[in-house]
């Protein structure tokens, strides 16, 4: 089995819901070490994405992801906008023309998305950013591909890895983004971007929990 175009569509809808539910939480995390807007910005972005869906629901996955990327870029602002925009743009390039994805293709897409984020933001692992949640998730996915794991299992593992990565940002001292201005004082707080990244991957695992091998 594989991730069909409609599964991808449902994933996007699930993200919009979970970001909406966690908007206040993400904003509070950002208030602690940033400027209190991450949740609001992401929520504004995915509400705009929801408005766009009708136009693209019959398109291929690549077109869908690219449109979402463009929409996020023009509606989120802040650091989150270009980063998540690039994330979906890159995933879109990898999946251009595809109407369904197998685990390896999904993994390639996320890998490209992560590289895009790193290219745009120049953050390294341990800088206390979304990269700390995305990197282990992509690594686990690659491993699952080698191990021939069923998709839903692989997604579950990647979400767990993202969760660990997210929690791992708590003790870190930020070296990128607004939180870095705090220096030592940024330690002890969970990074909002890593949190939204986890929520996005968790949404994939939840949405596609019935997609087997």
């Amino acid at each position: 089995m594989s991730i069909a175009r409609d599964d991808a569509l449902n994933w996007i809808k699930a993200i919009a819901v979970v970001i909406g539910e966690n908007s206040a939480h993400l904003t509070q995390l950002d208030a602690d070490i940033g400027d209190a807007d991450h949740g609001v910005n992401m929520d504004r972005g995915f509400k705009a994405v929801m408005k766009k869906l009708p136009e693209i629901s019959d398109k291929d996955i690549g077109t869908m992801f690219k449109t979402i990327g463009m929409t996020l870029i023009s509606t989120v602002g802040g650091a989150g906008g270009p980063l998540y925009g690039t994330f979906f743009l890159q995933a879109g390039m990898k999946t251009a023309g595809k109407m369904e994805l197998n685990l390896a293709e999904w993994t390639d897409a996320l890998d490209a998305a992560l590289s895009g984020v790193i290219m745009r933001g120049k953050a390294e692992l341990g800088d206390k950013t979304m990269v700390d949640a995305l990197t282990p998730a992509v690594a686990t996915l690659k491993q699952s591909v080698n191990e021939g794991q069923p998709i839903n299992k692989a997604l579950e593992l990647s979400a767990e890895a993202a969760k660990k990565g997210m929690e791992g940002t708590i003790p870190l001292v930020a070296r990128k983004g607004r939180a870095s201005y705090l220096g030592e004082r940024s330690a002890g707080h969970q990074d909002p971007g890593a949190t939204s990244s986890y929520l996005i991957l968790k949404a994939a695992s939840d949405t596609w929990k019935d997609v087997g091998t």
């Binding site: 904003t27 208030a31 940033g34 400027d35 209190a36 807007d37 609001v40 910005n41 504004r44 870029i73 023009s74 509606t75 989120v76 602002g77 802040g78 650091a79 989150g80 906008g81 270009p82 980063l83 745009r120 933001g121 930020a174 070296r175 990128k176 983004g177 607004r178 870095s180 201005y181 705090l182 220096g183 004082r185």
Partner: protein, 333 residues
């Protein structure tokens, strides 16, 4: 939350509408994407000077659009950098054929969005240069971090660059003026109170009645340290010392001294601050040859102040004194 607003999501839009009603002789406003351009944009043959950033810092940047300063300003959501599509459209709207300068405050979000905008504008054949201001000495600069924040110098750079562009200097030269300001200017701020982001509805940080935040950022980012309240003169010393010692400013230097209110601080207090800042500068043999005092780069209703020093040379003095006609800064015309 006590604010004179309607719905938080309408703050930016409605204040833009107020600007249109008030200043249609000076500026034009475009909605979706949001940007403000001077009424006579594009000025053919003139370098376009564009800046932008999150809203909540008024009058920066929209209040500085007009003859002798900015050609365009892109307001983002409150405390959130604007998006590349705003910057791209604004860049096109002010491109008079001589290229466009992007003045960018050093925040990750602003940098990334302006980078994308510049890439898109260049792809459309518009010559774009970007200069990043990063004058906040409260943040230790380092290659491994986001670096210093862009604050007060941005306002001064916008005035200087606008005057240079008005003189029909080339994009290269206008950008050079901006780099000069970036290199010769330093700032630091402090807060007595937090501010409340409209859509958040509660103060960004809690500051006890007997404490202050030294080294605050203009988005309410916590600063260097939290201390017990002190008399104004001691506070000014805490701000001036790191400012003076960073580059450093030396005896004999001629500077512009900019005492900026963060939004909730009354003018009478700013003059008390200016008094001490001036005396400290003079004590160091630094000559204050120009000044700016008032709320120009704010953080919503935050009570607090920031001090900026900019070393001036004859060219910069000429550009500073040049006529400017914007909603927030006006002289010589």
């Amino acid at each position: 939350m006590k604010k004179l607003i309607n719905k938080p999501e309408n703050v930016v839009r409605e204040s833009l509408e107020g600007i249109v009603y008030a200043h249609s002789d000076l500026v034009k406003v475009h909605y979706d994407p949001n940007f403000i351009v001077r009424a006579d944009a594009p000025v053919m043959g003139k370098v376009g000077v564009l800046s932008g950033g999150g809203s909540g810092h008024e009058p920066m940047h929209g209040g500085f659009v007009g003859m002798g300063m900015l050609d365009a300003a892109c307001p983002g959501a409150v405390f959130t950098s604007p998006t590349p599509d705003q910057m791209l459209e604004a860049t096109k709207a002010v491109n008079g054929g001589a290229g466009v300068l992007h003045i960018v405050k050093n925040y990750t979000g602003d940098i990334m969005n302006f980078e994308m905008a510049a890439e898109l504008a260049r792809a459309e054949g518009i010559e774009v240069e970007a200069v990043v201001t990063d004058d906040d000495v409260a943040v230790k600069d380092s290659l491994y971090t986001a670096g210093r924040r862009g604050v007060g110098v941005t306002v001064l750079a916008e005035k200087l660059c606008g005057a240079a562009a008005e003189e029909r200097s080339s994009l290269k030269d206008v950008a050079e003026i901006c780099r000069k300001a970036k290199n010769l200017g330093r700032s630091m701020g402090m807060a007595l109170t937090s501010c409340t982001v409209p859509h958040v509805g509660k103060p960004t940080f809690e500051l006890p009645d007997d404490q202050m935040e030294i080294g605050i950022g203009i988005h309410g980012e916590p600063g260097r340290m939290r201390l017990d309240l002190k008399p104004a003169d001691e506070i000014v010393e805490m701000l001036m010392e790191p400012i003076i010692n960073d580059i450093p400013y030396k005896s004999g230097d001629e500077v512009l001294l900019f005492v900026n209110g963060l939004g909730g601080t009354p003018l009478v207090e700013l003059y008390i601050i200016y008094r001490k800042a001036f005396e400290i500068a003079e004590k160091h043999g630094i000559k204050v040859v120009r000044n700016l005092i008032g709320p120009y780069i704010t953080s919503l209703e935050m009570a607090g102040v920031s001090i900026t020093m900019l070393k001036m040379d004859d060219e910069m003095l000429r550009l500073w004194d040049a006529p400017v006609k914007t909603p927030a800064l006006r002289w010589g015309v």
